[in-house]
């Protein structure tokens, strides 16, 4: 597979008479199919197509390529299973809420698998597929949604930040982390095991936050090795993308002085190829890139949301035809690259994963109310220690051992 650098959009030409007063003439109405700039390598029907700038698998043998695509299929299928299972757990009252990724599997697996071990990813609250790629036990994702913790993996070990709920905040953290990589000399050395990049995930809605735009500015200013990976799933809760931007989001990068590219976020091959090129660009010291993964939130915003209030079911039907998993399955089976046994094995794995989640969720350790006091500071303060002691005494006064929780 070629490591071709990302195309840089040309500067807008000011000459000539082609300028009109109506911006839509230029940027066009927001194309429902992603627009002519969409990078796609696998059609919804499961056909491989070429793109002038990006390709998948050209650096792999046919076998390796097929194995990789089967891997994507497995990743996506298992990720979807995590999602379905967690949604069910929420319905059964085991989780307080769940943010579904349904429909965004390709965007997440494609980009997640393009990461090297030493790269670092900063997620929002919906990157269950990326977490999977980072080797995080999906059970660890449940704690936050069950309310037993605010996140339960070690970011430094997993090279995966904690879920961040304040929209856009993590894009600045990613940029700062990337600035740290620069200072550590881990960019542009040419050593593939050393050079590292950071990826910041965010949504279409998040693109409106000041923080995200400041992250663009800092990244451009310092040429930081960060990929801004926006999953444009068309909705920010009830608000359609048009409320945030009337032109394709990837254009945003242009105005900040770095490249932007729109990829079919339901096409795992294209997402992988584009993310890989953007990450390599970052690792090589060529600075930030904005990748807009054009996709669709097929589920509700979260399990507490009711999308029937604000969007038409036809829209969902159209997007179902572009399902990211179906197209890979079609490609693999139609071309004899995966047999029934393989598909069956993945299904069994999914079953096991589901069981793991169901059983594990119940068993997730309940938090202790006293732990809360110990985690505020690295160096505990006397006044908080005193508050803890006072609360422990109070709990004791109810004749219930403090460590086991509520007196009531």
């Amino acid at each position: 597979m070629s490591e071709s650098p990302l195309p840089v959009p040309a500067a807008p030409s000011r000459a000539g008479s082609g300028f009109g007063p109506d911006i839509s003439e230029v940027f066009g109405p927001h194309a429902a199919d992603g627009g002519p700039d969409l990078v796609q390598l696998l059609t919804p029907e499961g056909e491989r197509v070429e793109h002038p700038d990006f390709s998948f698998g050209t650096d792999l043998s046919g076998d390796d390529e097929a194995a990789m695509i089967r891997g994507f299929y497995r990743d996506m299928t298992l990720t979807r299973r995590i999602d379905t299972e967690a949604t069910a757990l929420q319905r059964h009252g085991e989780l307080g809420i769940w943010a579904q990724l349904l429909g965004q599997e390709a965007a997440q697996i494609g980009s997640g698998r393009a990461l090297r071990r030493q790269d670092f990813a900063f997620p929002t609250y919906r990157e269950h597929g990326v977490a999977w790629c980072r080797g995080i036990d999906p059970l660890q994702l449940l704690g936050l949604f069950r309310g037993v913790d605010h996140g339960d993996w070690d970011p430094e070990q997993a090279h995966f930040g904690l879920y961040t709920i304040v929209i856009g905040a993590q894009t600045l953290h990613a940029t700062g982390y990337a600035m740290g990589l620069q200072r550590d000399g881990d960019v542009g050395t040419g050593d593939p095991d050393r050079d590292a990049a950071v990826v910041a995930y965010f949504g279409d809605g998040a693109s409106s936050q000041g923080d995200v735009n400041e992250a663009f500015i800092f990244a451009a200013s310092y040429n930081a090795p960060v990929v801004f990976f926006c999953q444009n799933n068309q909705w920010a809760i009830s608000e359609p993308i048009e409320r945030q931007s009337k032109i394709p989001l990837f254009h945003r990068a242009l105005g900040f002085g770095f490249p932007g590219v729109r990829v079919d976020g339901n096409d795992v091959l294209a997402t992988y190829a584009v993310a890989k090129a953007a990450l390599q660009r970052a690792r090589d010291g060529q600075g930030p890139t904005l990748v807009e993964a054009y996709t669709y939130r097929m589920g509700a915003h979260t399990t507490t949301d009711d999308p029937t209030r604000y969007r038409l079911s036809e829209e969902l039907e159209t997007w179902k035809l572009k399902d990211p998993i179906q197209r890979v399955k079609a490609y693999l089976t139609r071309n004899g690259l995966a047999d029934q046994a393989f598909l069956e094995a993945v299904n069994i794995e999914a079953e096991e994963l589901g069981q793991h989640l169901r059983e594990g969720c119940h068993a997730l350790p309940e938090p202790s109310p006293l732990d809360v006091f110990d985690r505020v500071y690295a160096e505990q303060t006397p006044e908080l220690a005193e508050q803890r002691a006072g609360y422990a005494d109070y709990l004791d006064s109810f004749d219930v051992p403090a460590e086991t929780g509520s007196p009531r």
């Binding site: 936050l144 309310g147 037993v148 605010h150 608000e239 202790s368 109310p369 508050q387």
Partner: protein, 325 residues
């Protein structure tokens, strides 16, 4: 007379304000078709149009900053912040602009902006969805800060806040939104906005609360009554300005006071209320004003929020400690 929840009371109040004054606008994230994540603005866009009920881009500073401009143009924007923890991106616009423009302009420019914030915990939510940021706003001169605690107050207070020519931070106890119903008589005469209210008479101790803790404190008082203790409960309602006249009167009678809120105790509203009561009622106090509130930690994971939040027992514990002096 209809029975309404707090959510419905607020919704009806907003609707009334919009009917009464065409300059009233509602804006925020998802306030339009969705009617807000809590449905407080339900149906308003349908009836008043997209120009008056404005779904905004996902940017809180933008919401408040543009509201400032609309207020300068003569509008009365009512901004919804989706959850307490998301007000901070707008903090600069609130404390440096909304709060200061009247002062900066020597009173020439009015800032009739209402910032509605669903606040407090107890709904089993994830991080940033259960905060109590009121003290930070009450500490900021130029803002007025109120908290409603029940459906009837919700109906009236939101209208009064909108009618006020000063910016009002309007706190709504989110866990009460769809809880208890109350009789709403829209023809009644409402109590003035910036006043507190004695909601239960008593003689042994004065218990102060606002927002979600009013219900808890009333329950505590009830429980204490069972043990023969007579607790007076005051719903502060307004946090800035504070209306402590009735509180001083009560404390001079009872000699003891406890302040309760969900916010962190350290530098919470309780600190100010305690300091003022002590200044004003020094010789009447038989025990120090005690405070009960959230611990000085970030809001915990929701499975233990009920322990973290002050509840009936924690309030009674403080009451007992006060009475033991």
């Amino acid at each position: 007379m209809t029975k309404v929840t707090l959510a419905k009371g607020l919704n009806a109040g907003l609707r009334k304000a919009m009917e009464d004054d065409p300059k009233v606008l509602v804006m925020g994230e998802d306030v339009g078709k969705l009617g807000g994540v809590f449905r407080i603005t339900d149906g308003l866009q349908k009836d008043f149009g997209e120009d008056r009920v404005i779904d905004s881009p996902l940017a809180e500073s933008g919401i408040i900053g543009t509201a400032v401009g609309m207020a300068m143009r003569g509008y009365r924007p009512v901004c919804e912040i989706q959850f307490d923890g998301f007000v901070y991106p707008a903090y600069d616009q609130i404390v440096s602009q909304v709060a200061k423009i009247h002062f900066r302009s020597k009173g020439r420019v009015k800032m009739p902006v209402v910032i509605r914030i669903p606040f407090g915990g107890g709904i089993g939510a994830v991080e940033h969805h259960s905060e109590s940021p009121e003290a930070q706003f009450a500490h900021t001169p130029g803002l007025k800060v109120v908290a409603c605690s029940n459906p009837v107050d919700g109906y009236w207070m939101i209208q009064q806040a909108i009618a006020c020519d000063d910016p009002v931070i309007f706190l709504e106890p989110k866990r009460q939104y769809h809880a208890d119903k109350a009789d709403l008589d829209t023809s009644a005469e409402p109590q003035p906005l910036f006043t507190s209210r004695v909601v239960r008479a008593g003689s042994d101790l004065t218990l102060l609360a606002y927002g979600p803790m009013v219900k808890t404190c009333l329950a505590s008082a009830e429980a204490a009554a069972g043990e023969g203790k007579s607790i007076e409960v005051v719903d502060l309602r307004t946090l800035s300005p504070l209306d402590l006249g009735p509180v001083y009167a009560s404390v001079r009678k009872t000699g003891r006071a406890v302040v309760a809120h969900e916010a962190h105790v350290n530098l919470g509203m309780g600190a100010e209320v305690a300091a003022r009561i002590t200044e004003q009622c020094f010789y009447s106090l038989e025990s120090p004003v005690l405070r009960v509130g959230g611990f000085d930690t970030p809001y915990p994971p929701s499975r233990i929020e009920e322990q973290w939040l002050p509840d009936l027992d924690r309030v009674l514990d403080a009451v007992d400690r006060s009475l033991a002096y």
